[in-house]
Symmetry: C2
């Protein structure tokens, strides 16, 4: 075991793919790149790149995210690793998927040299992508949904200040189910939220109150074992 023969294994290569999710207009989108190079030139793809020789996997995913968004300090979550020997037409490339959750309106997409185009595409409207990227997206989205149920990651996709209805719509979308407004509010009343005096603007109906996630209190409660997030 672990008798490494680099000659024998030289055809390996390792990449990371960064599935970047964002929420807008009631839909979850993925930041998609249109490939400017073969193979799969012209096809949409999940942004990814080979891992550098001395680079940690997570750092590699962070680098990809940074190149497209200029953002640092974003939480990245490891998803599934894909290693089918035939998944890459040019050799053996094993790829580890990560996902990030962003507020779409908080930044501008960066141009990337290796892409013809970069844009947000609603995940349910994505066409057949390059490589096994549809597989990767589906697997990663499943993990996202799992995480939405047990960790407060929804707030990474919602605006800094959001209404409870916006939060509810995100969960309704992700869990593909309609929820009762009153009951939703009861369910989330134990989540530590900061209530702002400020109200929603430019809506043609009663404006809703704005809330923020109270991360400080949340971390404290969790550390003291007084609380566990759950939305199932």
């Amino acid at each position: 075991m672990y008798k490494i023969n680099f000659d024998r294994f030289f055809t390996y290569s390792f990449s990371s793919d960064c599935v970047i999710f964002g929420y807008k207009d009631g839909q979850i989108n993925m930041l998609s790149v249109n490939r400017d190079v073969e193979p799969f030139k012209g096809k949409w793809a999940i942004p990814g790149d080979l891992v550098y020789p001395d680079e940690d996997l997570l750092d590699s995913a962070k680098r990809i995210l940074f190149e497209l968004t200029n953002l640092t300090d974003i939480d990245l979550h490891q998803a599934e690793t894909f290693g089918n020997p035939n998944r890459h037409p040019q050799g053996r490339v094993i790829t580890c998927a990560y996902f990030a959750l962003l507020r779409i309106d908080d930044f501008h997409i960066q141009a990337a040299s290796w892409a013809k185009e970069v844009k947000w595409i609603p995940i349910h409207e994505l066409p057949e992508m390059a490589f096994d990227h549809n597989l990767i997206l589906n697997s990663t989205y499943s993990l996202l949904k799992q995480k939405l149920a047990i960790e407060p990651v929804c707030f990474d996709m919602l605006p800094e200040k959001f209404t409870l209805s916006e939060m509810q719509r995100l969960y309704e979308y992700a869990f593909d189910t309609e929820m009762d407004k009153a009951n939703f509010r009861k369910k989330i009343k134990s989540i530590p939220l900061i209530s702002h005096s400020e109200k929603q603007k430019n809506v043609k109906h009663r404006p809703a109150s704005l809330f923020s996630f109270d991360e400080i209190t949340y971390e404290k409660l969790v550390a003291e074992n007084h609380y566990s997030f759950k939305m199932y």
Copy 2:
């Protein structure tokens, strides 16, 4: 992106590690190998091996499992992938962890050429292991616990015919909490179980009824959306 230069990346190697969990005497054990080769000779480790050039990741984990147990047709679950550039003293080895759940008494451990000794060790008694294997174990065990809450994988570790108290003790161990017997029985009454007329033997108290998991009915219920396993 994806302009592969194999020369530049030739130092990569890829392995899979197979965390094999088994339940015995009220504890979850890991099938551990004592390394007979450097590095970390003499240290306990998670069984693992390099992935063959044309081998799928999952197949590689299955091969490791088979070498130690002679078992095939065991469900393997992918866990975290570890790729810290310094995790292996002899080069860059990225490893993908899988885990399997076994009935300890249903098979015999096989000798393995690359190990001095192979044995079950209760996970809470494992010493400092080779490489980053304590890290891998902890991460994988967390994922197991997560899965125990939402999928009927506990039955892969319990005997084919088990008592409800045995099942309860497994959950109490995994979730590190005591549960009320009566309430536990109420909670699991929706899980499709086959009740056997046979009873527990050789106990010095009232013998409990034996049950089996009714996988056929479970799969049917899930397919028809009539049921979803949950144990939180």
